[in-house]
């Protein structure tokens, strides 16, 4: 069935809720209106107000309430309306969700999912364009998942819901309705922590995730015309990070570019390059490159062009690394 990312996510939620009545959704405006992006549309009608809970406007409470529900044996799926509004919940996420298992040496666990739309490129107000995934990726005890397409979104969300550990599930808002693709109607899973080989190639490895994937593919198609063969990897999960697959690829191609929507410093790309340098040092034929946003606050839409990565930036970087 053809689905866009919103309908694919909705389908994953509905299937899982149908199969497991310990699952409940909670968040701001997730009920009657189905969330501001309509990801939970129709679910309250179908599963009731007990299982699709409109909470007060209270992010810390949403995260904490989900924590308690999970400790009591439920499988909560919390929604933060936007990543930029998840920060009031950071204390609960870092101080309790991520470490309850370790703190209690396994007496209590917190199997939950916190979904949030992230990323720029949607011409939004301030705080609606954040990509601060590396904050979450640095916290031991959390898993951080970022799908790039409708099918990936469905399979990864189902895996995240079934995972025994807390998962931060970041949905690229820009890709919500960008394109549709064929997605299985039934449940299927995509393992967390496994990257996806999007395209095999010989000359250079390009790694990305989430909203960057379609842009990367535009760039790699355009350099194919000038004879550059790119290997493209979608990381899919940034914690745990499938650096093994990337390293294997870099050993083959000798060249690598990481494309990251977020600002440069201390990002996921930095970590990946550290691992590549450590494990594939002698295979490198050029310094690893990063295409990232500059270390500035996300500009409002009128200034977004200075921030947002486009295919030209990636293409230029490919040419630079190839001609090193």
């Amino acid at each position: 069935m053809m689905m866009n990312m919103v309908t694919a996510l909705n389908s994953a939620l509905a299937i899982e809720m149908e199969n497991d009545d310990s699952i409940a959704i909670l968040g701001e405006d997730v009920g009657a209106v189905g969330g501001v992006f309509r990801v939970t549309e129709g679910l309250q009608e179908r599963f009731g107000t007990d299982r699709v809970i409109d909470t007060p406007l209270s992010e810390s409470l949403i995260a904490g309430m989900a924590t308690g529900m999970a400790m009591a044996g439920m499988r909560p799926i919390a929604e933060m309306q936007f990543m930029g509004f998840s920060y009031p919940a950071l204390n609960i996420i870092i101080s309790h969700i991520a470490r309850m298992r370790n703190r209690s040496r396994g007496s209590y666990t917190v199997p939950l999912v916190i979904r949030m739309p992230y990323g720029a490129g949607i011409k939004a107000l301030e705080h609606h364009s954040e990509s601060t995934e590396s904050i979450y990726a640095q916290i031991p005890g959390l898993k951080v998942v970022i799908p790039s397409s409708p099918r990936e979104a469905k399979g990864l969300l189902i895996s995240s819901i079934r995972d025994p550990d807390p998962v931060i599930f970041l949905e690229p808002a820009r890709n919500y309705r960008l394109f549709s693709e064929e997605v299985e109607e039934d449940a299927f899973t995509i393992s967390l922590g496994e990257s996806k080989m999007v395209q095999e190639g010989d000359d250079i490895t390009i790694v990305g995730w989430g909203a960057m994937m379609p842009i990367i593919q535009e760039a790699t198609h355009s350099v194919e015309e000038i004879g550059i063969s790119c290997e493209v990897i979608d990381l899919r999960t940034i914690s745990p990070m499938d650096s093994e697959a990337v390293i294997k690829s870099v050993i083959k191609t000798g060249r690598v570019i990481i494309v990251q929507e977020a600002p440069m410093t201390c990002g996921v790309a930095s970590e990946l390059i550290a691992r590549i340098s450590n494990k594939a040092f002698l295979s490198l034929e050029a310094p690893p490159e990063r295409v990232t946003a500059p270390d500035i606050t996300v500009p409002l839409p009128k200034g977004e062009k200075y921030y947002y990565i486009n295919m030209e930036k990636i293409r230029d970087s490919i040419e630079k690394v190839i001609s090193f």
Partner: protein, 358 residues
């Protein structure tokens, strides 16, 4: 109903056993003498264990420790009203209640000595781990209560914080949501008049903490927190209301921190010693002792033996905790995720190799 008669607008604080051990016979809860005896023993055990913890810390055998002295009744009263499947959500100063609930003292010590196994509770105890970020535990208390109702468990959640905790956003978010969802929670604020060096008067401009309940549309009551009978009676009623679908209650336990904030603190730097002296006259343990004597619940000889009993238990628990082996490399890695991620496994193997080669 006490919760009506002593509602926050009444301007009254519930006391049943006053500081001179005068008893309000009308309001007195019905308690078997066996239960009173157990409560007395628990309070003594808590006091002796607490004093011991402070000594152990001075001797370098315990980590930073927050003394409970003077606040025993405030957590014990509510604990006594809890059902087996109810949840005890604590912060960090609720020793007497935890002991009543059945937390092994050696495990409590182990935690403050700096070992996560101190939090490895038997899940059947339904005690959540220590929560150090002040008032944050109130948010998951709401989730436990939601799950309780959803799972038709008919349990009540007892959640503790301090007067300082009432200034945190999480306090507001949790009471607000508990009110909206009409959840079975008893929120207990141990108002011990201080949050480290900040006095209660500078924590909030509210006359009482109990009155904050009004704004959330829930019940509230200010209780003499050093009066075990009043704490019991108020909690019992609040729990019953909650269990019958009547929603949450905020109980302000009006008490006093007789000791330092923690063993790293020196209260003389910010409060006059006369204040603590005054409160010593209202000590919950002395008050209970007077009650036990006046009701002849225990003979003098028996009373004396309770202290001996407590000392023996405390020594045993301290010994057990001190002789518990420190965590292994495996322990500190293994509980980060259900199973180690590949990257974590690599780091673990690396350290394991180093450890084995040393």
């Amino acid at each position: 109903m006490l919760l009506d008669d002593y509602n926050p607008l009444s301007g009254r604080m519930l006391t049943i056993l006053d500081q001179d051990a005068n008893l309000n016979e009308i309001l007195m809860p019905q308690l078997d003498s066996a239960v009173v005896e157990k409560a007395f023993r628990t309070m003594v055990l808590s006091r002796v264990a607490d004093d011991k913890a402070v000594i152990l810390q001075r001797q370098g055998r315990m980590g930073t420790y927050p003394p409970n002295k003077g606040q025993e009744a405030a957590s014990l009263g509510p604990a006594m009203t809890m059902g087996d499947r109810d949840w005890f959500v604590w912060g960090f100063r609720e020793l007497a209640g935890l002991l009543w609930r059945g937390l092994p003292l050696e495990q409590y010590y182990l935690g403050w000595m700096g070992n996560e196994y101190g939090n490895h509770y038997d899940p059947d105890l339904r005690i959540t781990p220590t929560s150090i970020p002040v008032a944050s535990q109130y948010t998951y208390a709401v989730g436990l209560a939601y799950a309780s109702r959803y799972q038709k468990e008919n349990t009540v959640i007892f959640a503790f914080t301090g007067d300082g905790g009432t200034s945190e956003g999480d306090f507001h978010e949790s009471l607000n949501a508990a009110g909206v969802f009409n959840l079975p929670i008893v929120f207990i604020v141990q108002n011990n008049q201080w949050a480290i060096s900040l006095p209660r008067s500078e924590q909030t401009a509210s006359d009482t903490i109990a009155q904050k309940a009004i704004a959330y549309g829930i019940r509230g009551i200010q209780v003499d927190g050093n009066d075990i009978l009043a704490m019991y009676a108020a909690s019992e009623e609040a729990a019953e209301v909650a269990r019958n679908g009547g929603g949450p209650t905020l109980i302000e336990a009006y008490t006093y921190r007789l000791g330092n904030h923690t063993t790293s603190d020196d209260a003389r730097r910010y409060r006059v010693e006369e204040e603590a002296k005054e409160w010593e006259a209202r000590d919950p343990l002395n008050r209970m002792l007077k009650y036990v004597r006046s009701r002849e619940i225990l003979s003098e000889k028996k009373i004396e033996s309770v202290w001996e009993w407590a000392k023996t238990l405390v020594e045993e628990a301290a010994h057990k905790a001190e002789t518990t082996p420190p965590p292994s490399l495996d322990d500190v890695f293994r509980h980060t995720y259900e199973s180690m991620t590949s990257n974590l496994k690599e780091q673990f193997d690396d350290m394991k190799k180093r450890e084995e080669s040393q």
